[in-house]
């Protein structure tokens, strides 16, 4: 069992870090780098949304934290001259802190009530970005420099992106690394006591508090981790596009994060990753259908929902009992 798991992980890493770059170099489809980088980053955000699902809350507000994280990184780089690499954790932390403040009141809500508030939150964030002067209103922040060199004790770990001949590959590797780290963390959370406690919340909050679980604290913690993921994803997106506007992440993005989770399957740690890959990559491939892109995409989504209402990964369950 354990060697099988190890092999699975090794195979996955091999595919992400070796096969994909090789395949792209061989086929010459350099545009896939952008698509796959987006998939990796979006799946980090989706991992956060999935974690809030895991405590029994429908989170349609991840776009808000992606936007926040993006702005924090952009403002720190442009106004304070801080290196992108330092802004990355700061963006995540900023989002985590804000989410604690927001989460304390709203996490008391359940079901559609929580869902609706988080949806509104995305809109609030967009409007805040429009109204503030530090975010430069509707004009947004543009001409953000590419990430500089990352070095530790004088040792260069990542060279300056501006000097690379293939920054696309570098961004892909960066996003993929962050994705792997995020999912490793998520996997660890779910399979440690923390995850068991989250599941106890999802299934019965009253009972959980009767056995001494500090439900309010745990809810806020899970939400903060979720928002941290959102912030990180947003910050890297900004580094790639070198710009950010209030409309960089909108309600549709928040809804999409949720859909990725649903489609992959809410009961499976790697559900959101698969969901993101299918939906985002599928969307991208469908661009050949021109004006029918959205029609085919949404029809496919509805069809999938009818065929596998519990997520694509639930197909695995048919064979053997539980995951």
């Amino acid at each position: 069992m354990n060697t099988q798991k190890l092999l699975g992980v090794a195979g996955f890493l091999f595919a992400v870090f070796v096969l994909v770059p090789w395949g792209i170099a061989a086929s010459g489809r350099w545009d896939f780098y952008y698509t796959l980088t987006s998939v990796a980053l979006l799946s980090i955000g989706a991992a956060g949304v999935w974690l809030t699902f895991y405590i029994g809350r429908i989170n349609i507000g991840q776009g808000a934290y992606a936007l926040m994280g993006g702005y924090v990184s952009a403002v720190l780089i442009m106004k304070a001259g801080i290196s992108f690499w330092a802004t990355l954790p700061l963006a995540g932390l900023f989002c985590a802190v804000i989410s604690v403040l927001i989460g304390l009141p709203i996490l008391r809500l359940r079901g559609v009530y929580f869902a609706m508030v988080t949806l509104v939150l995305t809109e609030v964030t967009r409007l805040t970005a429009l109204a503030l002067s530090v975010t430069n209103g509707a004009k947004g922040i543009t001409s953000i420099p590419l990430p500089g060199e990352l070095s530790l004790f004088g040792l260069t770990i990542v060279p300056d992106f501006a000097t690379m001949q293939n920054p696309k590959l570098a961004f892909y590797l960066l996003a993929a690394t962050l994705m792997v780290l995020s999912y490793a963390a998520l996997w660890r959370i779910v399979n440690s006591r923390l995850g068991h406690l989250c599941r106890s919340l999802q299934q019965n909050e009253e009972l959980a508090s009767s056995i001494g679980v500090n439900t309010a604290y745990l809810r806020v913690l899970a939400y903060a981790i979720s928002s941290f993921f959102g912030g990180i994803a947003g910050a890297v997106f900004v580094a790639i596009s070198q710009s950010i506007y209030p409309s960089s992440f909108v309600v549709t993005d928040s809804v999409n994060f949720m859909l990725y989770c649903f489609l992959g399957g809410l009961g499976y740690v790697f559900g959101p990753m698969l969901g993101t890959l299918l939906l985002y990559f599928g969307w991208d491939l469908l661009s050949i259908a021109k004006q029918y892109q959205l029609l085919i995409y949404s029809s496919a989504m509805i069809a999938l929902m009818l065929a596998v209402p519990n997520g694509v990964l639930s197909l695995l369950d048919r064979k053997g009992g539980r995951k």
């Binding site: 923390l194 068991h196 009972l207 009767s210 056995i211 001494g212 539980r322």
Partner: protein, 260 residues
């Protein structure tokens, strides 16, 4: 025996309805005390007040002399006053053993971060929880269903699992709301014996709400009777059976009289 729990004039109003009205009684350490009364009398509400799941309108509950009635429920549980629910509540999509392990939260010494990184303390905790869960499984005779998914269990087993979850918190006072509901005679007698052993072997003080009168009479040291939210009698099983107010309360309701 010393007093462990003091309920003082506790009152709960829901809008115009007074569910529990100025109820007072003391519980001695190591006692098995039953609360009985017709349906809707306010028994479950009383338990929710004691475990601080609902805020009291007035009155208070003291545990070893300290007020617990305005603390958060998880804090009350942490102090050792733990309730199980009337509606069977268990974690449905976990196995019996997983249910019990999760319920060991109060005994965790490692922090959540410790569990995340798998610190030595966390591993020691996990091991202790596993062993203790197996111990509880054996104590309640649930060995055969240890790895069964809780959602697949019949009613009788669910009750036992609910009690196992309560036990896992290592309670000083355990409040059981209708622990024998949905059980057949044999299962009930088995649970009665378990509750006794809980007190005798582990020194747990037990409060229970129950409708099964033969079981109540058999198990209880003392009984508190409430009707329409008010306490109408308190005493030993023999005293209660001889109390005319109690008989009247039961005859006046749809419940059967305290027939033996």
């Amino acid at each position: 025996m010393s007093t462990i729990l003091e309920v003082k004039a506790i009152t709960k109003r829901y809008g115009g309805l007074t569910a529990v009205n100025a109820v007072s009684f003391d519980v001695a350490e190591g006692e098995i005390l039953s609360v009985i009364g017709p349906n809707g009398a306010g028994k479950s509400t009383l338990f929710k007040l004691i475990s601080s799941f609902v805020p009291a309108t007035s009155g208070e509950v003291l545990f070893r002399g300290a007020k617990i009635s305005d603390l958060a429920p998880h804090k009350v549980a942490r102090m050792g006053v733990v309730r199980t629910f009337q509606e069977t509540t268990i974690f449905k999509s976990m196995t019996v053993r997983e249910n019990i392990i999760v319920a060991h939260q109060l005994r965790a010494k490692a922090s959540l971060l410790g569990f995340f990184i798998g610190s030595a303390q966390a591993r020691a905790d996990e091991e202790a929880f596993g062993a203790s869960a197996d111990d509880i499984v054996d104590f309640l005779g649930l060995g055969a269903i240890r790895d069964e998914l809780a959602s697949n269990l019949p009613q009788g087993h669910l009750r036992a699992l609910g009690m196992a979850i309560g036990l896992a918190t290592n309670p000083t006072v355990l409040l059981l709301d209708e622990p024998f509901a949905g059980m057949n005679h044999d299962e009930t007698m088995n649970m009665v014996a378990n509750v006794r052993r809980l007190r005798d072997e582990r020194g747990v003080t037990v409060l229970l709400v129950e409708h099964d009168m033969p079981a109540v009479m058999k198990i209880s040291d003392r009984i508190v009777v409430i009707n329409f939210g008010e306490k109408i009698a308190e005493g030993t099983p023999a005293e209660i059976q001889a109390n005319p107010r109690v008989i009247e309360a039961y005859l006046g309701s749809e419940d059967a009289a305290i027939g033996m």
